[in-house]
């Protein structure tokens, strides 16, 4: 479908969609606006939509002049990247196997995946803490990466499986007939076709790890490993109504998310079908 065609079809939809999205995203705007206010501005009635004049005082106090918060941004990045790589490594072959390979016990594995999805983090965190302490992993990045991955892998497999189901079997069969090995067919034919799925799941894994809170709270007390979600929670625990500063930290957390998403958006927009038909 060409751009020209779509442009003809839907300016009305664009207007409706824009209005809806603006309303829907008001909370994000409000976060940004609040983060640029002074404390007296926060407590002003009626509230000002746009701070006048905007000030970065809250960013200075809560982020820039705050080495703990700054360092927690680095920690979150390390945890996010580590978790993404490990998740993809484990989840991609598993999702493919479950979608396609008609393995004995696949139902059992699906059940296990679902079962592990059922576990509230709060329940898992205690025993994990004990295991990790025995391995001397508590208070380290690996502990948080391993725990986050444990929570995300089942989700990743479940989300990826339909993507593999969507890959036309004919292409795969053709490759196999051509003499490619199973791994070869998987790597050369299936993975590229499921590219959208991989990128989507990789991005989601990063962002879930970036936002993870319960494990970070329970498996770590080391401020050098502490991710920014925990840093924010600590601030809330101390001053639950310093909204400008809380929203400044919140906005800081949101920025990498916007960046990751801006970079990867086209893959998601393309969708599954376009990837499969292009080959």
């Amino acid at each position: 479908m060409s751009d020209r065609e779509s442009a003809r079809g839907g300016w009305g939809s664009t207007v409706v969609g824009t209005l809806f999205v603006l309303l829907f995203l008001f909370p994000v705007f409000w976060m940004l606006s609040t983060s640029l206010k002074t404390q007296p501005d926060i407590f002003a009635t009626p509230p000002r939509l746009i701070p006048s004049p905007p000030t970065f005082a809250a960013y200075r106090a809560a982020v820039l002049d705050n080495p703990i918060v700054l360092h927690s941004v680095v920690s979150s990045l390390v945890i996010g990247v580590g978790t993404t790589l490990l998740t993809l490594l484990l989840a991609v072959p598993a999702a493919y196997a479950l979608a396609r390979l008609h393995l004995k016990g696949a139902g059992l594995v699906m059940l296990m995946l679902l079962l592990s999805q059922l576990l509230p983090s709060i329940v898992v965190a205690g025993p994990l803490f004990v295991i990790f302490s025995r391995l001397h992993l508590v208070n380290s990045y690996p502990a948080l990466i391993l725990a986050d991955t444990a929570a995300i892998v089942p989700f990743a497999v479940i989300v990826l499986r339909p993507f593999f189901l969507g890959v036309p079997r004919e292409l795969e069969s053709a490759a196999m007939v051509d003499g490619a090995t199973m791994f070869g067919a998987f790597a050369r034919i299936v993975l590229p076709l499921a590219r959208t799925g991989l990128i989507t799941v990789g991005a989601l894994a990063f962002l879930l790890a970036w936002g993870e809170f319960v494990f970070a709270l329970t498996l770590n007390v080391n401020e050098n490993v502490q991710p920014i979600t925990v840093a924010l929670n600590k601030m809330i625990g101390q001053y639950g109504t310093r909204w400008a500063e809380l929203m400044a930290v919140s906005t800081t957390i949101a920025i990498p998310i916007i960046l990751v998403f801006a970079g990867l958006q086209r893959f998601i927009v393309g969708g599954l079908t376009s990837g499969a038909t292009k080959e």
Binding site: P40, T45, V74, V78, V138, V221, V225, K234, T241
Partner: protein, 417 residues
């Protein structure tokens, strides 16, 4: 390449180490080797982040001074939020991941001593011979079954603060009793400016703020479901329902109460001395005054404060060396004044720094009628029942009488026999 030692003060250096530090930390196992052969003393407290909290800054400065005097020791401080500290300590105990020493809220001290995670300091204390220099309330909070499990760090208590800028010519005198308090709160309420702010948040902070009012009626926790208990709860409920106090108090920490006061949204507040340095630094133009809490049948306040405790089987000698140093009056005085806290030592309480200061002397006076929370090792659960009663009454979920009856039923079996 090693990671920089991670005290609060050297974190900037760590940041500069950038990727190198990150890589090292990635490989690290949380067991950080100090650069030299230093004794490493790990330390947890809930004082906050030194960038935003005067209490934390005071603690960090104190640690820095100690390390300057004792270069062979490296103290690694970690901030654990107030509400999480108990959980963290229990988890750490289960997994053998505890710090060497910890600063805890004094009503929880017996609960931790009863768990068996704290070092028995009785012999060290006897040899030290300074127990008699401490006030009885804070000192007793470190005792469990006759043994000594810690040293008081500081004391504090709650008083009433008034914003004089708002009171102005039509302002109010310091209210002496509850009737005057209600009248003053009503008078000072206008628009979005509330007469009074307290913290009723569902944590120990809420209990801490309400107990003085309970005690002022002559009632006590074992008799919480009494006329006195009902009157104390009704006082807060009425203040909220009359619009003189925001229902927001249900979510406010004492730090949040301060923010209301600083921004002129609460003309009066109930708060402690640790807010003095914060107010002076952040709101130097604000004019305010403190007075003892308005009385009912009697005057009362609450004895707050933190104690040091040493974790069993860890680094007793190094920890004890720090404690003895920190408790020397001249070291203690610098730290307490910086943190806005009151001495638990009798000899320091006579110091003109407290007795001659127009603000601090009110606290010292209030401290005389400040009661400790000495209700045994089940106190955390008792407090939780009180928090629930406060929340239920103020949110309107249950009438005051029902809420207190329920609290009483929970509390009675938890009290020491």
């Amino acid at each position: 390449m090693t990671t920089t030692p991670t005290t609060a003060t050297s974190r900037r250096t760590l940041l500069k180490a950038g990727a190198a530090g990150t890589a090292a930390a990635l490989l690290g196992t949380g067991r950080r080797a100090a650069a030299q052969d230093k004794t490493v003393l790990t330390w947890w407290d809930y004082m906050g982040d030194p960038a935003t909290s005067a209490n934390a800054a005071a603690a960090v400065n104190q640690i820095k001074r100690y390390m300057e005097a004792n270069p062979q020791v490296e103290i690694q401080r970690t901030y654990v939020p107030f509400a999480d500290l108990k959980t963290k300590l229990l988890q750490g105990a289960a997994a053998g991941q505890l710090p060497d020493m910890v600063i805890i809220d004094n009503p929880d001290h017996q609960a931790f001593a009863a768990l068996g995670v704290l070092e028995d300091l009785t012999e060290k204390v006897a040899a030290w011979g300074q127990a008699g220099n401490y006030f009885e309330g804070p000192w007793n909070s470190t005792l469990w079954q006759g043994k000594n499990y810690g040293i008081p760090d500081n004391s504090n208590c709650l008083v009433l603060w008034r914003n004089l800028g708002l009171s102005g010519p039509a302002g109010v005198e310091a209210p002496a009793d509850w009737e005057e308090l209600k009248a003053a709160a009503a008078k000072l309420t206008s628009g979005d400016q509330m007469g009074l702010a307290v913290s009723a948040v569902k944590s120990e902070e809420g209990t801490f703020q309400w107990l003085p009012f309970l005690w002022e009626t002559g009632a006590d926790i074992p008799t919480i479901d009494s006329d006195g208990g009902k009157a104390a709860m009704q006082l807060w409920v009425d203040l909220v329902n009359n619009g003189n106090m925001s229902k927001g108090i249900l979510g406010w920490t004492q730090g949040d109460v301060l923010a209301q006061f600083q921004n002129g949204k609460a003309a009066m507040m109930v708060n402690g001395p640790w807010q003095i340095p914060v107010l002076k630094e952040q709101s130097p133009d604000l004019k305010w005054e403190v007075s003892t809490l308005p009385k009912d049948k009697q005057g009362a306040s609450i004895l707050g404060g933190e104690n040091y405790a040493v974790i069993k089987g860890k680094n007793l000698d190094a920890a004890w060396d720090f404690l003895v140093w920190a408790q020397e009056p001249e070291h203690l005085k610098t730290y307490l004044l910086e943190a806005g806290k009151l001495p638990s030592r009798k000899d320091l309480a006579q110091d003109p720094a407290w007795t001659d200061d127009p603000v601090l002397k009110v606290f010292v006076e209030q401290l005389l009628v400040a009661k400790p929370r000495a209700y045994g090792p089940k106190y955390p659960e008792i407090s939780s029942a009180i928090q629930e009663a406060i929340q239920a009454s103020i949110s309107g979920q249950a009438p005051v009488a029902d809420a207190l009856a329920k609290a009483q039923a929970t509390i009675t079996p938890l009290l020491p026999q």
